[in-house]
Symmetry: C2
Subunit: 334 residues, 2 copies
């Protein structure tokens, strides 16, 4: 019997189509060729093929900008979706509203080597990536035009990557994204009703039931959520309530790096290096609404096609129950 | 300068990335092979390869069910996402809510011939498809478990089709989909503020500006909306306010069939038979909220990949301004 499940945060329903349940091998996606045809502007030695760096990690204190010998670089996106210079110039056209597409669009290059899969980076490299995310958030926060920073990764061509060299993207926006605003609204509603954080309650219930938990360490837990939109959707949450990613303590960064590498390795082994997106759902800069939001990471493998039903309803049909995906991911040898 | 535009109905922002504007030929998607390997269960003569028909159009009054000589068939989906038999059995599990996945999942086979592209059906065949949609809505409305019927088409493998023989899908749901509920909320908010329908106002403004209009006839208008999520997203709306698709008059069905064929032909010529989804956004069965909603069809060519930014924000980056897509679609010779 297929099942309809309601997301406890935003109220979205998903159909868990148990009759069509799929094993991981049914979901393997064939690898796609790299689109760049051999040359990679993100590899060490090609620093002049990207815009000048805005962030660089390097052991050598005398390091000259935009030269080799770095361990991590942050650069503006060469083809930005938004433009950094200028004012918003909000205006109307009859009933329509528009403003200039002002924002930051940056890339974090997580390694000088041509590494395709983030899960194969060392724990130290992943820690550095997390520090770089934080550095950029703190810097972009100073710009009064921006209200939100989205950090995400497109891994694999099918997930929207245009280069195969592993990298993350950072977009600063003058508005709070719809999806995050909905989650914050939901968390506020729950808080008003229960006087508790909905994410904290989910973590507690998942730990007790222990069927959708994949792994946990001192500070973080990885789960298959109760209402996954997609097969093998996986969340990583801080176990203690925390509104802002950028407030992570040093030891928490280490714990998170372990958990992120652990989770991506499990996904890569079970699903044979699938294309995926991961997204950091963070609080907006201002107006944190009593800090009732709980930041977290969502990892979405791209294994199925989004079709008319999903676009027409905003609901999702998922052929793989999260209880099964959690079992596969928990039990795999990595 | 890229532009941020706000959807006047649900308040979602899209980024129109004018700097990266793409011509239609940049967006052509290579045709994918048919997944069915030669045999088609939807072709005339293979009636026993589908579940028994629940609707058939045929000139012969003596026609025996599930035999050749039909012009249109409606059958249950062989691999339904929802199950038709049973009760909802709504229940909780701690803080989580679920119910049985009860619903109808049907297929309308629009022609006995192995036609791949709906735009090549005759106007009469498209009229019949619209009548079949209406027949099924009216029948499913009698089932008190259901609150909404979604009608949609997945054309092409990349748009989620599993067979290439043109067909539409019908899904009846025990809940109102999130996306439709948001539009109805938005329309109610606008009505409360202006005492007018937001879609009627959009049509009026588009007719006056006349830059995003593609075509119109007596009863229908096709436009590139002000805030398209995707390149070449196209809407068809009834020009007079109407809450329910199923209330179409006979002459309006003819007018709509013309406009649907006209629009799909324009899309197929400009974009070289792209994969697409179309969706009928209709009112829910009950609780029509003073009929402030305005039903319409959304056509979404699948030309770009949805990546991390879109999943993380619920916003969209669209590299093609609707003013340009409307011009291409308006001026193309069909």
């Amino acid at each position: 019997m297929p099942e309809l499940r309601k997301d406890p945060i935003i109220g979205r329903w998903v159909i868990i189509a148990t009759e069509r349940a799929k094993r991981p091998t049914d979901l393997h996606v064939p690898a796609e060729d790299s689109p760049e045809g051999g040359f990679c502007p993100f590899c060490e030695g090609n620093e002049d093929k990207t815009p000048p760096e805005i962030l660089v990690y390097c052991k050598d204190a005398e390091h000259k900008p935009n030269t080799p010998c770095w361990s991590l670089r942050g650069v503006p996106n060469k083809f930005p979706a938004l433009q950094i210079e200028g004012g918003l110039n909000k205006r109307g056209e009859g009933m329509f509203d528009r403003m200039n597409g002002i924002g930051a669009h940056e890339v974090i290059i997580e390694t000088p080597q041509h590494v395709k899969f983030m899960s194969t980076l060392t724990k130290e490299q992943i820690e550095d990536s997390l520090w770089a995310y934080r550095d950029r958030i703190l810097d972009l926060k100073k710009d009064k035009r921006f209200r939100y920073v989205l950090i995400f990764k497109n891994q694999g061509i099918a997930a929207g990557a245009s280069l195969e060299h592993t990298n993350s993207q950072i977009i600063a926006l003058p508005i709070v994204p719809k999806r995050v605003a909905e989650e914050i609204e939901g968390a506020k509603r729950y808080y008003a009703y229960k006087d508790r954080c909905v994410y904290c309650d989910i973590i507690r219930q998942e730990q007790e039931a222990n069927v959708r938990v994949i792994n946990e360490n001192r500070d973080f837990i990885s789960i298959s959520p109760f209402t996954p939109r997609f097969p093998f959707e996986t969340w990583i949450l801080p176990k203690s309530h925390a509104a802002g990613f950028e407030d992570l303590l040093k030891e928490e960064v280490e714990q998170l790096a372990f958990m992120l590498k652990d989770t991506l390795m499990r996904i890569d082994v079970v699903l044979n290096n699938p294309p995926y997106n991961y997204l950091i759902h963070n609080s907006p800069f201002h107006n944190r609404d009593g800090d009732c939001y709980h930041w977290h990471i969502e990892i979405i493998p791209k294994l199925t096609k989004v079709a008319g039903f999903e676009w027409g309803t905003g609901f999702y049909i998922n052929p793989t129950p999260p209880e099964e995906t959690a079992k596969y991911l928990r039990e795999v040898k990595i």
